[in-house]
């Protein structure tokens, strides 16, 4: 199992000036391809701006945040017998290019507006992948580092706060257990900071940002605040703060649990992402529902203390993850959605019906369980859900991570094929164990000399992991699988051929 390693990802060369290689043909490495793609997105965005330019118009001070409601419009009056259709989840799209543009506008002002910069950075939700991508987009567009520009405009506590919002998952405190938060102390700090017109807004931000937008933690702080003051936090904020100050405070405690968030680099990606989500539901019977993943983890890890599970939170999808998800589901198309009716799997209910993007998993189901920084994906049988975690998307679009993967995009896609196999191929596990003399049972290697080995090191973990690794190899690197593990290739070939037999 190739391990993703931040330290080994080649970093882009720091550009100090715009490249002027018009007459030089540069080799198209993955890095240059990515840069080319990025620049095209930036240029497209700039062309759009010019097309939409209104002379004399007042440009928005806040980057575009599109909240797209897709789904059936609910009628106020229902006809007799009419069934209320479940409303599709709202989709919130954040465009990196817009955020980078807005940040650059703010940071090139003589006096940069702290709150507006905070609002921009908070859109990244302190998510490592999002922060990294924003930095890349910013640098590709403006040639300078975002951190450098921020550090040039702010200092002291303001800079410290903005750096917290730019936490990229690599710093020591990025995974600080929120369970250590003392809600009583936080409530007292808020009570002191919120004081009508004298409200210390920066103190309020500093307290609220510690929650990292985690719904259960926000609820606990609200409860502690009410116990302390006898009043509602949201009401007090609305009374004491206004304008952008209030926008940012609300942003820090927003409840995203009913919303799918997607980060994109262009309006085209935003449109495509929305279409993909609809397509997955209509065609494959798989709903993109991140809160379902959080709920599934809580259900499947009952021994982990609530103070830990309260830290679970949904995360924003990267556009490329949705593309990878669509490709992964295509591998199993014959046994998904309406297609399943014509397959040999028609008698059994579909094993995967929701997919989720969740920030972190849990490492074990015990009292000592904690947030996990290693898990890339996990299948939850009890909820028919597969969760993709932030760890799995780190370095998305970057260079090769080694092993059989040409890029991290491939790693993401293969992780998705792997997780889907845990659900959709579970019915084949017993047959797989019987067919592979490598395994004594689902969990135990037989120790038989000369047995055909799993296609990857991670496949040796258990027969179920072996089958999932075999599946991703079959769909993604069939020639490699056929060569290295012919028994497994034949097993998958038979399995897939049988799908076509109702």
């Amino acid at each position: 199992m190739p391990q993703f390693d931040h330290q080994n990802i080649p970093q882009k060369a720091a550009a100090r000036s715009r490249p002027t290689h018009a007459a030089v043909t540069l080799p198209m490495t993955p890095e240059t391809l990515q840069r080319k793609e990025l620049m095209e997105a930036v240029q497209m965005k700039q062309r759009e701006r010019m097309d939409n330019f209104i002379p004399g118009g007042i440009p928005s001070q806040v980057p575009t945040l599109q909240r797209l409601v897709n789904g059936p419009v609910m009628a106020n009056a229902l006809a007799p017998g009419q069934v209320i259709q479940k409303k599709d989840r709202d989709i919130e799209v954040t465009n990196y290019v817009d955020v980078a543009d807005e940040l650059n506008n703010l940071l090139t002002e003589a006096v940069a507006d702290f709150t507006q910069v905070s609002i921009c950075l908070a859109k990244m939700d302190q998510n490592p992948t999002a922060i990294k991508t924003l930095r890349e987009v910013y640098k590709a567009t403006y040639i300078t580092d975002l951190e450098v520009d921020v550090a040039a405009k702010f200092k002291g506590d303001d800079l410290k706060y903005l750096k917290r919002l730019m936490t990229d998952g690599q710093t020591a405190d990025s995974n600080r257990p929120a369970a250590r938060l003392n809600f009583k102390s936080l409530a007292e700090a808020l009570d002191t900071a919120i004081d009508g017109e004298k409200t210390d807004v920066k103190k309020v931000y500093a307290v609220l940002a510690q929650l990292k937008g985690t719904p259960a933690l926000v609820d606990q702080l609200k409860a502690a605040y009410k116990t302390k003051t006898g009043t509602e936090l949201t009401s007090d904020l609305a009374t004491a703060m206004k304008g952008d100050d209030l926008v940012h405070a609300r942003q820090l405690i927003a409840d995203h649990s009913g919303i799918e968030r997607i980060n994109v680099k262009s309006d085209e990606e935003a449109k495509d992402a929305k279409e993909i989500i609809k397509y997955l539901k209509d065609t494959y019977g798989v709903e993109v529902n991140s809160q379902a993943g959080v709920d599934a983890i809580k259900k499947d890890y009952p021994k982990v203390p609530k103070k830990i599970t309260d830290q679970l939170r949904t995360a924003a999808w990267e556009y490329r993850e949705l593309v990878a998800l669509k490709s992964a589901l295509e591998s199993y198309a014959p046994i998904l959605g309406d297609m399943r009716l014509g397959s040999n799997r028609v008698a059994d209910a579909q094993e995967v019906t929701t997919v989720s993007k969740v920030d972190q998993a849990l490492n074990k189901d015990r009292k000592g369980g904690r947030l996990d920084t290693e898990t890339m994906g996990e299948y939850f049988e009890s909820a028919k859900n597969f969760g993709a975690f932030t760890k799995g998307s780190e370095g998305l679009g970057g260079a090769s991570v080694g092993g059989p993967f040409a890029s991290n995009q491939e790693l993401v896609q293969t992780t998705m094929i792997h997780e889907l196999a845990h659900g959709l191929l579970e019915y084949r596990t017993d047959d797989f164990v019987k067919a592979m003399n490598y395994w004594l049972d689902e969990y135990t290697p037989s120790g038989t000399a000369g047995a055909e080995e799993p296609p990857t090191k991670y496949g040796k973990t258990s027969a179920s992991e072996d089958l999932s690794e075999t599946a991703f190899m079959f769909f993604f690197k069939p020639a490699d699988l056929k060569k290295s593990a012919p028994l497994r290739y034949k097993f998958m070939e038979d399995t897939v051929n049988d799908w076509k037999k109702p």
Binding site: K367, E374, T375, E378, E419, Y443, Y458
Partner: protein, 192 residues
């Protein structure tokens, strides 16, 4: 207390004929003070496992006599976790268990057959063996949410996931330190 536990473990090992996986009890370091560590393995009452608990003192020849395995149901060069090499014997028509031997001595009886596991209830096992101390609760190859409850002092380890027993290991009693050193294969991270 530690000395008493160590002596008890030593006594258990001697009465069971010793085990290659658990060679010596001089290194016993378990601090557990559970029902299991304070009783003789013969005192353990788990009806569903009784036939196999009683067989832990048998030799390879004695087990062969019971199982009467075909040639393909026996292999002199297999392994079980860290027990390498180990002779393996299994005849499902006679017995659901897999037997492993080193130097003719039985070192492991492994059970995961669903018909047997279906008879086991985690709460009943805990009632029979006592609460499992934290340091005896191990990560399990049975899955990311599975836990392995180790009572090596009476030669019993079982894995549970979603309140279902996934497998059971029965072996001549030894200390936790010896179980970890000689039998238990560390479970790697569940990455995906």
């Amino acid at each position: 207390m530690h000395k008493i536990l160590a002596l008890l473990s030593l006594l258990l090992a001697l009465t069971s004929g010793g085990v290659a996986g658990c060679h010596s009890h001089r290194g016993a370091s378990s601090s557990a003070s559970t029902k299991a560590t304070t009783m003789n393995s013969a005192m353990i009452e788990i009806p569903a496992l009784k036939p196999w608990l009683d067989r832990r003192a048998l030799t390879q020849a004695q087990v062969r006599e019971i199982l009467k395995p075909r040639a393909d149901q026996e292999d002199a060069a297999r392994s079980y976790q860290k027990l390498k090499p180990a002779a393996w014997m299994h005849n499902p028509t006679v017995d659901a268990a897999h037997y492993y031997f080193q130097a003719e001595k039985l070192v492991m009886i492994y059970l995961s057959d669903k018909s047997v596991m279906g008879l086991l209830v985690p709460a009943d096992l805990e009632a029979a063996l006592g609460p499992c101390p934290q340091d005896h609760q191990l990560r399990s190859r049975a899955g990311k949410t599975a836990n392995q409850y180790a009572y090596p002092e009476v030669g019993i380890v079982y894995a549970v996931e979603a309140d279902k027993v996934k497998f059971v290991e029965l072996f001549p009693p030894c200390s936790l330190k010896e179980y970890l050193a000689n039998i238990y294969e560390t479970v790697g991270p569940w990455l995906r």
